[in-house]
């Protein structure tokens, strides 16, 4: 294939490129902070932007595998972790902004988590992402073996709760959350189709698949 050489270059550069792309929302926020671009209510603005960036990165993460399969560009696989870690970075900033907003008052925070469904959903999603970030190292992948993949399926639940969190918090303009819901729906439908098609067929062992992805 004529593309072999560019594919080799792409494989080398795709991860740094993914980091740069994944950090664009953060760069924009920091630039905004220095140029007065955060508006009249910076806490609100940063909360919205980091939440949006979290969902965006989660969707990109979930899109990596379908795109890789569709195009055959296996070198894309290494970006999955990059985007996933970016999602975790943004959810941490999102949570931190929320904690600042609540004045780090445990009483207020508990009241929110316990009584307000959109906060409950968002906070649960954060808790689900936490072990995924902690086990994102190569060593963890090796140590956990098959269980690693099972564990990391939690990302589907986390992304779903994240979308629900967004839907439940808007006042009346559902456009953005529904776009996320549609994208999430498509990405999950592709997986369900794959799982259904894969049932009964011989499945490639996960270890071999990972080896192919990392190469």
């Amino acid at each position: 294939m004529a593309g072999a050489s560019w594919q080799g270059a792409a494989a080398r550069w795709v991860r740094p490129a993914a980091w740069v792309a994944g950090l664009v929302p953060l760069i924009l926020l920091v630039a905004g902070a220095f140029t007065g671009g955060l508006g009249a209510d910076p806490i609100e603005y940063v909360t919205l932007r980091t939440g949006f960036a979290t969902l965006l990165m989660l969707m990109v993460t979930l899109a990596v595998s379908p795109v890789r399969k569709w195009t055959g560009w296996n070198w894309l696989a290494s970006t999955r972790r990059t985007f996933g870690l970016c999602a975790f970075l943004y959810v941490c900033l999102h949570l931190l902004t929320y904690l600042v907003d609540q004045g780090f008052s445990l009483g207020y925070i508990w009241e929110d988590v316990a009584e307000r469904p959109y906060v409950t959903a968002g906070f649960t999603a954060f808790l689900l992402l936490l072990p995924l970030a902690l086990t994102s190292t190569k060593a963890s992948i090796r140590r956990l073996g098959k269980r690693w993949q099972k564990l990391h399926r939690l990302v589907y639940l986390a992304a779903g709760l994240g979308v629900l969190h967004f839907i439940w918090l808007v006042k009346s303009d559902l456009r953005d959350p529904l776009i996320f819901a549609a994208v999430f729906g498509v990405l999950m439908a592709l997986r369900v189709r794959g799982w259904l098609a894969g049932r009964g067929k011989k499945v490639r062992p996960p270890a071999a698949r990972r080896a192919a992805m990392e190469s």
Binding site: A40, D41, E44, D101, Y108, E111
Partner: protein, 315 residues
């Protein structure tokens, strides 16, 4: 209707040049605070809050101090869904799109003197007043804004409402050319708000035509908007083209959109939470820490309007 003399201390209106930006304020605050013992708010009909030099604008002293929200924030952080649902949208698009001259306000319904007024004609002949009010959004943020305008009750008196008129319904301009947000059905357009007649007759209710001593900016609801400071901001309808007297409770936009979340009364009430968030606290724009929300947004003189009403049910 019995109006108590207001209990809350309030503001002095200063000329535009004297408004201090927030940053300058911090430097000047120590000196300025000395002059902060201010008279009561213009809850009565006279224009009490007129400037006395460059005194500091405060509604209150101490930890619950009310400083004017800087003009830049007042005019760049707006909920005006006719221009988009992001806070930054109205400032970006409204000034270029909203044509405020000519502007017609129709007064009709159950009244003896209905009329169709051009803007100047509508405003002429009524007292011009300056009022500095807190504005508390249902989203739990707040500002302090120096408005100017005409008391709603004067407009109502001019129309001579009939005995059967129990409510006032106010309507925003409907024109998707000028208000592109109306092309999307995020709310039932045109925007409609309403007040019970006694609420509308309360001296605090203002039809504002300007802020910070200048004509009303487009993004704040030019050329004329309602300000009812004891209610959540969505009651203070913008860019009004119609005032109608009715015998039935108006079908208001947010109430139609989500009746469980946005009631007809929508009085600021720290004890009654929005179903999805607390109303006990608010962020004053420009401050980091949230502050407690005050009952009726700190305007206890309206309490008598609701005596005997269950405010938990009539939210």
């Amino acid at each position: 209707m019995l109006i108590k003399k207001p209990e809350i201390p309030s503001s002095e209106i200063t000329p535009e040049a004297a408004y201090l930006s927030r940053r300058q304020f911090f430097g000047a605050s120590a000196a300025a605070l000395a002059g902060a013992a201010v008279p009561a708010l213009a809850a009565c009909d006279t224009n009490e809050g007129v400037a006395k030099g460059a005194a500091l604008d405060t509604l209150d002293a101490g930890p619950q101090r009310d400083e004017l929200t800087p003009l830049a924030d007042v005019t760049s952080y707006n909920n005006f869904y006719e221009y988009g649902t992001d806070k930054e949208d109205p400032a970006r698009t409204a000034p270029g799109l909203l044509k405020t001259r000519p502007w017609t306000v129709v007064v009709d319904g159950l009244c003896d003197r209905p009329g169709r007024y051009g803007f100047d004609e509508f405003v002429r002949g009524t007292r011009q007043v300056d009022r500095t009010y807190r504005l508390r959004c249902v989203e739990a943020w707040s500002m302090v804004i120096p408005w100017s305008g005409i008391p709603l009750r004067d407009v109502i008196a001019r129309a001579r409402p009939r005995a059967g008129a129990r409510f006032v319904e106010l309507t925003t301009l409907l024109d998707p050319q000028q208000m592109p947000g109306q092309r999307r059905s995020v709310l039932a357009w045109p925007y409609v708000e309403g007040l019970r007649m006694d609420e509308a007759m309360h001296p605090l209710a203002l039809l504002a035509t300007g802020l910070y001593g200048r004509p009303m900016p487009a993004q704040n609801g030019a050329p004329i908007r309602l300000v009812v400071p004891w209610k959540y901001g969505f009651k203070s309808i913008k860019s009004i083209v119609r005032i109608r007297f009715t015998d039935t409770q108006p079908r208001t936009s947010w109430n139609l959109s989500a009746p469980r979340e946005y009631g007809f009364y929508a009085n600021v009430n720290p004890q009654v939470d929005h179903p999805r968030w607390t109303q006990a606290r608010e962020r004053r724009i420009g401050e980091w820490r949230r502050r407690p929300t005050l009952m009726f947004n700190g305007y206890p003189e309206v309490a008598s309007l609701y005596s005997g009403m269950d405010l938990r049910r009539n939210y």
